[in-house]
């Protein structure tokens, strides 16, 4: 079976910094593939190349067998790739419901319609409400997004990713900045999504990673030094030396 996502020998540098170094990765359908690595390892840079906001210097990216290395971001999104942002990226001046409704509308097409009032289209509003309910934010639907807490923003990001019904979800540190309780709620939410979408999860929270991942890749200085099931990664000496040992004081 062709992998959903496959990169071959990806390279990307900024001036003298090599952010992505000979990176080959393969993600199969339905798996939750976690990518871990120290700060500055190039995780976000990888995501931006996968979703198309940056282009690699060399190497290739395939999505379901199709070469998308140089395809613009909005077209990749249409093909079924969505991302969430490490730093919350929402439309702060819009209501919570409008944010999610915009994602639903983008999925359904006909965004170029200039005549029908968007807020009167029941199918879109209902779907957006259902997604908000799924992440536990139905009571905040009419609030201005700016007024919500950081944890709630992280949940909105997931609702928006779900709205796209994308086959491949690229999640960049969904737990960033969350408290203990909030993190657990997010793990539960991701568990409920797992299997329905192919997910690439970037995360520093090791408890979350080991609870969720089918496979884990370890990224160090832009290069994947190991890929395997959680148990294998846990026992890998090289990984421990390069990363796990110093970061989280052993596992």
């Amino acid at each position: 079976m062709t992998p959903v996502l496959e990169t071959r020998r990806l390279m990307k540098s900024f001036g003298g910094i090599i952010a992505t170094n000979d990176l080959s990765l393969s993600v199969t359908k339905g798996e939750l593939h976690a990518i871990i690595g120290p700060n500055g390892a190039g995780k976000t840079t990888l995501i931006t190349q996968l979703c198309g906001t940056q282009t690699p210097d060399s190497g290739s990216i395939r999505f379901k067998g199709r070469d998308i290395t140089r395809m613009p971001a909005h077209r990749r999104a249409r093909l079924g790739i969505t991302r969430s942002f490490q730093i919350t990226s929402l439309i702060l001046e819009m209501s919570v419901l409008d944010n999610v409704a915009l994602a639903v509308q983008a999925r359904q097409g006909s965004s170029f319609d200039m005549i029908r009032p968007a807020r009167s289209i029941k199918a879109i509003r209902d779907r957006a409400m259902a997604l908000l309910a799924r992440v536990g934010l139905q009571d905040k639907a009419d609030m201005i997004t700016r007024a919500l807490s950081h944890g709630e923003h992280r949940h909105m990001e997931i609702a928006i990713a779900l709205a796209s019904e994308a086959e491949l979800m690229l999640l960049d540190e969904p737990m960033a900045g969350l408290g203990h309780e909030e993190s657990r709620a997010m793990v539960d939410l991701l568990k409920s999504i797992k299997g329905k979408h192919t997910i690439v999860l970037i995360e520093h929270d090791m408890d979350a990673v080991f609870a969720l991942a089918d496979r884990i890749s370890v990224l160090v200085y832009g290069h994947i030094i190991a890929t395997g099931a959680p148990a294998e990664i846990r026992g890998n000496k090289e990984v421990e030396a390069a990363y796990l040992g110093e970061e989280s004081g052993g596992l």
Binding site: E93, M114, P117, A118
Partner: protein
């Protein structure tokens, strides 16, 4: 009904009633003032679509007023002095001139917008201004249409059923034009297209990641905005019957921006109230002192800095954030 809707209705009600009353009671000057106000309000409403809702700070909107006016003046000129018979542009027919104004401006917006919208922030402001100045200098260089000295429109646009030589009818047409422009912008803003436009203003990358090519949405809004402003320009030509490149100067574009911000961007009534405040202040201050530009400028800066939400914000404050 929200306070804002009420404010829009009151504003438009007063604008419909007061000027004709002044005119019929022997004060034609005030009708003239109102007609100019109404025409500039149409341009401000069109600017609000891209500046307010789209977050695109276009500093060249006066170019559309000028192009629209010349689309009336140039055919009228050839109607009188000959030339352009081959393409039928020697005419005083409004049914040719007004669509021409709209089409020329839409095309100008399409071509310049396609380039401007590749840039962001200060670069966008500068390049929109540069294109407007280009039109300015192009017109200045054409001797036949008066160049620097401007062009007198000897005959107003002829339209079936109404005479634009009658000040009251010209005002009525402008007023209807304003209502239509406001309705159009409101419809667009509330549509799915409008959601994308406003979303891209708030967070462009987010909207792109939803699979929407925001560039295409912005360009479309830019063209619609230019077309509406072109219509305002055609009316302005008929109102002043004298057009000159000066009406496309960048200071004129700045005035339109101030009207939108002064009145309250992203509101229906804002650009109209802004245009009204602008015209009335200009009138009042210029009768007091020839140096009226200075206090006027200071006042505008004060409103922009301290009057959050502009006049609409001021007049409907109690309603809160919505």
């Amino acid at each position: 009904m929200t306070r804002r809707t009420l404010l829009t209705l009151v504003t438009m009600g007063l604008l419909a009633v007061l000027p004709p009353v002044f005119y019929l009671t022997g004060n034609p000057f005030y009708l003239d003032l109102a007609t100019r106000l109404t025409i500039l309000a149409i341009a401000a409403v069109s600017l609000n679509l891209i500046l307010g809702y789209g977050g695109l700070v276009s500093f060249g909107h006066a170019a559309y007023l000028g192009l629209g006016a010349y689309a009336v003046g140039i055919p009228a000129h050839h109607w009188l002095y000959g030339g352009l018979e081959g393409i039928g542009l020697n005419t005083t027919s409004g049914l040719v001139q007004i669509p021409l104004a709209v089409a020329v401006c839409a095309l100008f917006a399409l071509v310049t917008g396609a380039i401007c919208l590749r840039t962001k922030g200060v670069y966008f402001i500068m390049i929109t201004m540069a294109f407007a100045q280009m039109v300015y200098y192009a017109i200045v260089s054409i001797e036949e249409y008066g160049g620097d000295d401007g062009l007198v429109i000897d005959s107003r646009s002829e339209l079936p059923g109404i005479s634009l030589d009658d000040p009251l009818q010209l005002f009525a047409l402008s007023y209807v034009g304003l209502v239509v422009a406001m309705g159009l912008v409101r419809m667009i803003v509330n549509s799915r297209f409008g959601m994308v436009l406003q979303g891209a203003k708030g967070n462009n990358e987010r909207v792109v990641m939803l699979g929407l090519n925001t560039y295409a949405f912005r360009l479309t809004a830019y063209v619609v905005s230019g077309a509406i402003a072109g219509f305002a320009g055609a009316l302005l030509g008929n109102f002043t019957t004298f057009i000159s490149p000066e009406m496309m100067d960048w200071t004129r574009s700045g005035e339109l921006m101030f009207m939108v911000i002064l009145g309250g961007a992203t509101t229906s009534a804002g650009p109209v109230l802004g245009a009204a405040a602008f015209i009335l202040l200009e009138e009042a201050l210029s009768s007091l002192t020839v140096y009226w530009h200075l206090p006027f400028g200071l006042l505008l800066i004060a409103v922009v800095l301290f009057g959050k939400g502009g006049l609409v914000g001021l007049l409907s404050r109690r309603e809160g954030g919505k």
